[in-house]
Symmetry: C2
Subunit: 207 residues, 2 copies
DNA sequence: TGAGTGATTGATTGATCAGTCAATCTATCC
DNA sequence: GGATAGATTGACTGATCAATCAATCACTCA
């Protein structure tokens, strides 16, 4: 309602932001609601004024971010550019998301995307939609004769997204170096590797 | 000690097997120790006779299986066969493990391998060792001039293992079809895609 | 000014569950 | 047969924590 600057501190936002930090640090199951409240500098009960449950805080975080990603993929797919560019844009978006807010990406991947039980189950539809959209991009490339037609598109989408997620996991676990240039190289390498494996014709050596 | 047939029922094993089913069904955090005991047809307290904690049951399951896999990778690497065959053997082993005991693989992936907090942390060393071994195979292929030298071996290992794990996750989530022939095709496709992307020379079109 | 609305507080409740332990059972050996 | 050791039982304890709620506070508008 009010656009007045400085007016009311947005407690809801503060709680969400605090939750990201706490979930990333301790994990959803291991942290207490009071940890989130403390981190947000807010009373315990206030969380329940804004959210019906601890779980709903996580759901909100996930849906907020995942929605942006789905919209981005749809938009990229509409553009008349080559597959490599489309997949490159998706890889860039996800990796830049990590660069911009590693804690949030950690929470989404660890607590939702990779949690087959609990939350993964709840958001299966959203997750599946991402695979479906990427699969569509692959299918089109196959129809254009750019990608091999004998590889299942869903499968290829899974491989592509899986490779990116695994690299993020590597960063999250501290298994891979994550300097500025590592992130940029990762974008190229994921696209290079996956497209290289999917394309029909041998890549033209430009070196 | 005794090899007498039928003699003593192995309660420890019964508890471990029951735990696999319960963890797969409900998840480690969501299930109660009593669920495991009930599933094993054993009294609550007996679990604590064989294991110091609920957590240690999961640790045991993971280490048992992961150890077999690491040993298998080492063995494959010793053989004087081409990279494709080595990576193919690894993919086969993991996918066959899933075929043979999908619940166990689900538990290992969902509760350990992909759980950056909690258990992933504990077993980081073991997990890292797998990446390292696969990375070594890649490095050798690079030295032999079979794989592109400009791609980080650790990164390639991550991509390879990530693709497999993602496909397993697809099966676990029910996102990909998992008939006999799907499993076999997956082995080929993972190796095909990843090697295709990593190899120097264009793949010889055999079609 | 003061009534009304919604934000904010944190002590309390109620339920859940991991882990303990004293008692009982079974097998084995002298 | 009876003594010892280990296996097995499940009621119980103690701690934890999500969620509730009655009370207080801050702000708006008439």
């Amino acid at each position: 309602m009010s656009t007045r600057a400085k007016a009311v501190p947005d407690r809801r936002r503060a709680i969400l932001d605090a939750a990201v930090r706490v979930f990333a640090r301790q994990g959803f199951h291991a942290c207490r609601v009071s940890d989130i409240a403390d981190e947000a500098g807010v009373a315990y009960g206030l969380l329940y004024h804004y959210f019906p449950s601890k779980e709903e805080v996580l759901n909100t975080l996930f849906l907020e971010r995942w929605g942006v990603m789905l919209e981005m993929i749809r938009e990229v797919d509409r553009k008349p550019v080559p597959v490599r560019e489309k997949l490159g844009a998706i890889a860039s978006f996800i990796i830049d998301s990590y660069r911009h807010d590693p804690d949030l990406m950690k929470v989404i991947i660890v607590e939702v995307t990779r949690a087959a039980n609990s939350f993964g189950q709840t958001h299966l539809g959203q997750i599946r939609e991402a695979y479906r959209l990427i699969g569509e991009i692959v299918t089109k490339a196959q129809q254009e004769g750019i990608f091999k037609a004998d590889i299942d598109a869903e499968f290829a989408a899974m491989t592509f997204y899986g490779a990116i997620e695994q690299v993020l996991t590597g960063w999250i676990f501290g298994l891979l170096p994550q300097g500025e240039e590592d992130l940029e190289r990762a974008k190229q390498m994921v696209v290079e590797t996956v497209c290289g494996g999917l394309e029909c014709s041998p890549p033209i050596s430009s070196a």
